[in-house]
Amino acid sequence: MTEAFLSVRNLRVSYQVGRNFVHAVDGASFDIPKGSITGLVGESGCGKTTVARALTRVIADNATISGGQILFNGKDLARIPEKEMNALRWRDIAFIPQSAMNSLDPVYTVEYQLGEVLRRRGGMSRAQARKRSEELFDMVGIDPGRLTDYPHQFSGGMRQRVAIALALALDPKLIIADEPVTALDVIVQRQILDQLKELQTRLGLSVILVTHDISVVAYICDRTVVMYAGKVAESGSMQAALTAPSHPYTMGLRNAFPDLQGAASGVLTPIEGAPPNLANPPTGCRFKPRCPFALDLCGSEPPVVDVAPGHPVLCHRASESAALRIEAAKTETWMARA
């Protein structure tokens, strides 16, 4: 594992709902090495988008970072003053949103929106911004002649490319992509992912790719962080997560998605049930109610076990994972719970 340049430690993000606090992210820890693509996966509501947004510190009005650290370039982003944070935004940490349609301002041309970032945040002159915009459009494969178009004049895939161009504008160190291809059809998804991978390799970027789609992760990521119910269930290299998933939830996710290279490798097996309500999470292991391997001891808080160097797993039975993997590959294992 290369040096971690972003290190999230025990991050806790809470939403105030009425008088209660819901901890959407409840003690998440993971490392992002330099120059890699890390997939942040999990079901809807597991806290992955909240983590992503917490890294920019632009979170919902009723949300607060209530604990933990976000160590980046020797600074704790969870603590530094807003002014210092704002200086970092986009110059160091850029963001690719899920829906590029809604995230581009409909009343301005794309050139204006690129120029806004380049000039206001990058301190460029009008001419420099113009040149850089053309360069960026070339990079993402759009004809620079279309710079003067408005967002609604682009197709979905093109808009996502525009969003990527925007994210690259100021040469950020880290790009957070929140479900960047979810709204697109499969063919365009692949084109965009290829583009992202190519740019990441060429520019040596570090990317966090938030997605619910484990096949997207498998397609371009080097590392993966699997989240469940506000906690990190398992994190490690892509290789480890695919060939040796050690948390039962990761094993379940593998069964629930079609095989990555397109070969129909058998029946898809869903994980029965739904993630717990975070306003009132189960005690002990949060995956216990849905886990086919749950034991009595799972009612207590699970430990973080390093099954291999750089491969921590949040599970009581992490040491038995090799045996569990064999069981987990069988459809009956998961059906029995239902």
């Binding site: 935004r89 995230s103 581009l104 409909p106 009343v107 970032v117 408005y150 609604h152």
Partner: protein, 325 residues
């Protein structure tokens, strides 16, 4: 090319609407009870004299013929003779229309400028004490009847303090060489303050509340969140992105407000004895001066239709999605 086509079809639409308005106006006045000539013809006239007068105004002809004559005259810009003033309606309206337009637009522009800024500010200060105090106040101004507000302003600023004149457009005896001279005089502006203030106070609530709720919606949009993630300044986020987008529906409401305001003017012009189209309309209806009332209605309808056209064009300029559609 398609632009020409769009403008062409829009103008055709406009002509159709005007025709419908003209027809309804024509029928409406003929459906009203009472003989229009009653106010005009002296009861001591002999029947022959009466019939002669009826013939003079064309009122002895069948309805469809009257309608055709009316349309024909309108096409030539001829609005007929006022029964009461015994002068062409067009001439009468021409004198009054500028007064009404000046009052309407000055008050509405003030109301919208204030409403848009205050609405945006209140949305930005959502949940603060400023907002909690301001909203009931705005609702109060919306609830106050215009004539009452006008009278209160008159009582305070004219009768008690004597800061502003009580009515009309100029001091008695003041003479001006031309209309422009009059409209730019201190005298005229002093007369304008109270009626314009009344209308402005009454009208600012709509753009204010509309702007505020639009802003609150737009502030939740992804592109506003993205503007924050981009590290843009608060001002840029709120003004250039949120307010700019929230403004679109407010601009449309401006055109509708002009139409609404022209009705409101009837009341305010009466309170302040403002010699405008609204006051004349009321007087004309009361005096059964049908040609004049018809002309005044038509003028008001024309302004409303033109404002709607303007709003559409403005929207196309402000919102690229419309002009490219």
């Amino acid at each position: 090319m398609s632009n020409f086509k769009a403008v062409g079809s829009r103008l055709l639409q406009l002509a159709l609407v005007l025709w419908a308005v003209v027809t309804i106006l024509f029928l409406m006045f003929r459906l009203m009870p009472g003989n229009p000539m009653a106010a005009y013809i002296d009861p001591t006239f002999t029947l022959e004299q009466q019939q002669q007068l009826m013939a003079q105004f064309g009122l002895d002809k069948p309805l469809w013929q009257q309608y055709l004559i009316y349309l024909g005259n309108l096409l030539q810009g001829e609005l007929g003779q006022s029964f009461r003033y015994r002068e062409p309606v067009g001439q009468r309206i021409w004198i009054l229309l500028p007064n009404t337009l000046i009052l309407t637009f000055s008050s509405l522009i003030i109301a919208y400028a204030f409403g848009i800024l205050a609405g945006a500010y209140l949305a930005w200060r959502r949940g603060s004490w400023v907002e909690q105090a301001a909203i009931p106040m705005v609702l109060t101004t919306r609830a106050m009847p215009e004539f009452w507000l006008g009278m209160v302003l008159l009582a305070i600023f004219s009768f008690s303090l004597g800061w502003f004149p009580a009515g009309g457009t100029r001091d008695p005896g003041a003479e001006y060489s031309g209309l422009l001279d009059l409209y730019t005089s201190r005298d005229f502006l002093a007369h304008l303050v109270l009626p314009a203030a009344t209308l402005a106070i009454y009208s600012q609530g709509l753009p204010l509340l509309l702007m505020r709720s639009n802003m609150l919606d737009v502030m939740k949009e992804d592109f506003v969140t993205m503007a924050r993630i981009k590290g843009l300044s608060n001002w840029t986020v709120v003004v250039r992105h949120a307010a700019r987008n929230a403004l679109l529906p407010v601009m449309t409401s401006f055109a509708i407000a002009v139409g609404y305001q022209l009705q409101g003017n009837v009341v305010v012009e009466s309170v302040f004895s403002w010699p405008g189209l609204g006051r004349e309309l009321v007087n004309a209806v009361a005096a059964s001066d049908y040609p004049l009332a018809q002309g005044a209605f038509l003028m008001i309808a024309l302004v409303v239709i033109l404002m709607n056209l303007l709003a559409d064009m403005l929207y196309a300029i402000l919102d690229p999605r419309v002009s490219h559609a």
